[in-house]
């Protein structure tokens, strides 16, 4: 394998891993703070992509031209908004009524919510059953640096994720509200006694996590140029797998887990013969192994820390 090839594959892995990481962050936040595994999280990923696609019309009607930076920012804002709203609705109508119910019920209801969301998009978006082409927002070709081809979308995605993740870091570590989140994650009852409005923390957490998931969906559309109503399922599973690998509840573990999963997939595809057949299976096998042998994630007990 030549060095260009290796660099090329590393870039491919980066683009993939960063997307998994963004989804995984949501899972891990929900679990850490609300103690819920949100099976509908994959759907916010799909919704984000569809909103990005459908909001094009609105943005052009208010005078923004396609390919311009404000246009992209507009889409980004809309996607973030949709993600948050979806998260808030989920909290209000699905998660909150199930408080106190057995785990299995909460899990099943989020599963139900995910089915409804997915099918609704399929049925009510015009031509929603078929894959939708996602427009190229920037009309730039791949850049060739010493035989390595870099897609502008990949760079954009990496920058965007870096910005979002540092934003999240700032919110969690530096703001008062972040302290509330951390306190709730550590001990819900104690936080309540300290006068923290836990309900509000829950809402914000779901909104935050879902918004990130929605952006991952937008990035998916950008990188592959195609979105489908059923893309949330695989994305959700992979995001969850990444979160588990990183240790559920550990935000930075989730990011690392996402990257690891991305690299592993690319590694298997590029080295194992007919490895691409198994690309989607890798995450499942990893997650089973991880759950059985390192339930607290690969970073082990000591790094295990909620949020």
């Amino acid at each position: 394998m030549t060095i260009e090839l290796i660099v090329q594959q590393i870039l491919n892995a980066l683009g993939l891993g960063i997307m998994y990481a963004l989804i995984a962050v949501g899972f891990t936040l929900f679990f850490g703070v609300i103690e819920v595994v949100n099976f509908a999280h994959g759907e916010v990923f799909m919704l984000g992509a569809f909103v990005a696609l459908l909001s094009g019309g609105i943005l052009t009607s208010i005078g923004l031209t396609m390919g311009s930076v404000p246009y992209f920012l507009g889409i980004l804002v809309l996607v973030l908004l949709t993600g948050s709203i979806f998260g808030i609705l989920l909290e209000r109508f699905i998660v909150r009524p199930m408080r106190g119910a057995p785990d299995i019920m909460t899990l099943l209801i989020t599963l139900g919510a995910s089915i409804i969301t997915r099918e609704a998009v399929m049925l009510f978006v015009p031509n929603g059953r078929n894959p939708q082409p996602f427009p190229k927002l920037f009309d730039v070709d791949s850049i060739n640096i010493g035989g390595v081809l870099i897609k502008p979308e990949t760079i954009l995605c990496i920058i965007l994720s870096a910005v979002l993740i540092s934003g999240l870091y700032y919110i969690i570590e530096k703001t008062t509200f972040g302290r509330y989140i951390r306190a709730t994650a550590q001990d819900r009852e104690a936080a309540m006694m300290m006068g923290i409005n836990v309900k509000k923390v829950f809402i914000i957490t779901l909104a935050l996590g879902s918004a990130l998931g929605a952006v991952a969906g937008l990035m998916n559309g950008l990188s592959y140029g195609i979105i489908k109503f059923n893309m949330g399922f695989a994305a959700g599973i992979k995001g969850f797998a990444a979160a588990v690998v990183g240790g559920l509840g550990n935000v930075y573990g989730a990011i690392a887990g996402g990257m690891l999963l991305g690299f592993l997939e690319i590694f298997v595809v590029s080295t194992v013969p007919d490895g691409s057949s198994y690309q989607d299976l890798i995450s499942f096998v990893i997650v089973i192994l991880c759950l059985v042998f390192r339930p607290a994630g690969i970073f082990g007990e000591r790094a295990y820390e909620k949020v």
């Binding site: 019920m105 089915i115 409804i116 096998v285």
Partner: protein, 385 residues
């Protein structure tokens, strides 16, 4: 006794009417009428219903017997309509799966989102044994169950260490891995082509895949399978019922409620979990085996994730850990959508809505699980053991 007979006959009659009406609008009207009647009855004659329920619970054996008697006449009552027989066959296979899954998920609290894999294993076992090894269906069928059980235990092994959400993920992964294996082990499973031309079973020298002639009317092969499915469903129900009402079933309940406490009482969780998986999976395998022999064609795509979801929604609708619930759930979710084929697109959405609504407003399902009441004699028998 007469009360039971009459109410069951009324149900039978309503069912036949439901089968006979064709126009979607009439079906909707029928369902609406039934719902209104049901709600009014519950509001206005609640006491009556309670009494009826008590009679049913106390005479569960008789209820079952009469129900089976009635079920035996269905192929004649619907004039051997092969389409409806087929649907009823699917319904009974679904009911068997729902019972198996209910034992795992409802009774033992081990969530399984990959149940379709057990059906797949059963179906492929029968398919491969009868098609490639030429073994009789009747020998292959128990093997289907046993292999499914074996895989249940294999799935159970990681499940020993994980629970709740993690278990859900492991089981999803299990379902997908089994499907993927069926796709890739081409030499055995036929890969994407699946297995074509699986032979029909022979019963007393009669090929069950052929039309039967009763003299006054002839029936397509579905009728044969109708009786096979019915027999197996009755068997499944009885076995699951016995298991559930044994001390073993009680132990599973204890494990579901609190693993730690159950362990403190000296329950060997490892054994119980593996057994719950094995028993639950067994019936999925049997259902799959019959499916393979009935359809004569199986492919990995028939046993996807959505099938697992459908079975899960059946037991949620019926009520987790409720045996009549699983039967009723399978009935509703198989037979009703068939009447709305025109709205086939909305079918999966309908399952999602059922799951969400049930969990929000009717967490215990249509026929909630009743905590067991120990009659003295059962208790005594338990002590002896």
């Amino acid at each position: 006794m007469i009360k039971i007979l009459l109410t069951e006959l009324l149900g039978y009659l309503l069912f036949l009417v439901f089968v006979y009406i064709e126009e979607p609008i009439l079906v909707v009207a029928f369902i609406a009428a039934m719902a209104i009647a049901g709600i009014t009855l519950k509001k206005r004659a609640g006491l009556l219903l309670q009494e009826l329920e008590k009679t049913y619970v106390e005479n569960i054996g008789k209820v079952g017997l009469i129900a089976v008697m009635i079920a035996l006449t269905i192929p004649f009552a619907i004039m051997g309509d092969s389409y409806w027989l087929q649907i009823l066959n699917f319904m009974m296979l679904n009911a068997m799966m729902a019972l198996g899954l209910n034992f795992m998920t409802g009774r033992a609290g081990l969530i399984c989102l990959g149940y379709a894999a057990f059906m797949a294993i059963g179906a492929y076992t029968v398919g491969i044994l009868t098609l490639k090894a030429g073994i009789s269906f009747w020998i292959a069928l128990p093997f289907a169950g046993v292999f499914a059980s074996l895989f249940g235990v294999i799935l159970g092994l990681p499940a020993l260490r994980v629970k709740g959400h993690y278990l859900a993920l492991v089981t999803i992964a299990f379902g997908l891995i089994v499907q993927e294996l069926l796709l890739n082990l081409e030499s055995v499973t036929g890969g994407t082509n699946g297995l074509i031309d699986i032979p029909s079973p022979h019963f007393l020298g009669i090929d069950m895949g052929t039309t039967v002639n009763f003299g006054f009317m002839s029936m397509t092969y579905q009728a044969n399978f109708y009786y096979l499915c019915l027999a197996l469903l009755v068997l499944t129900t009885v076995v699951i019922y016995r298991f559930s009402n044994s001390l073993f079933g009680l132990a599973l309940n204890a494990m579901r409620e609190d693993q730690l406490a159950a362990q403190c009482y000296g329950l060997n969780l490892t054994n119980y979990k593996l057994l719950a998986f094995a028993i639950g999976a067994f019936f999925g395998g049997i259902a799959g085996g019959v499916y393979a022999a009935m359809i004569n064609f199986i492919a990995p795509e028939n046993f996807g994730y959505s099938l697992s979801i459908i079975v899960i929604s059946m037991i949620i609708l019926g009520g987790l850990d409720s045996i009549p619930g699983a039967l009723v759930g399978a009935f509703f979710l198989t037979v009703f959508p068939e009447k709305f084929r025109a709205f086939e697109d909305y079918r999966v959405m309908f399952y999602g809505i059922i799951i969400v609504l049930c969990l929000l407003f009717m967490r215990e399902g249509l026929l909630p699980f009743k905590h067991r009441i120990f009659k003295p004699k059962t208790a005594a028998r338990g002590e002896e053991n």
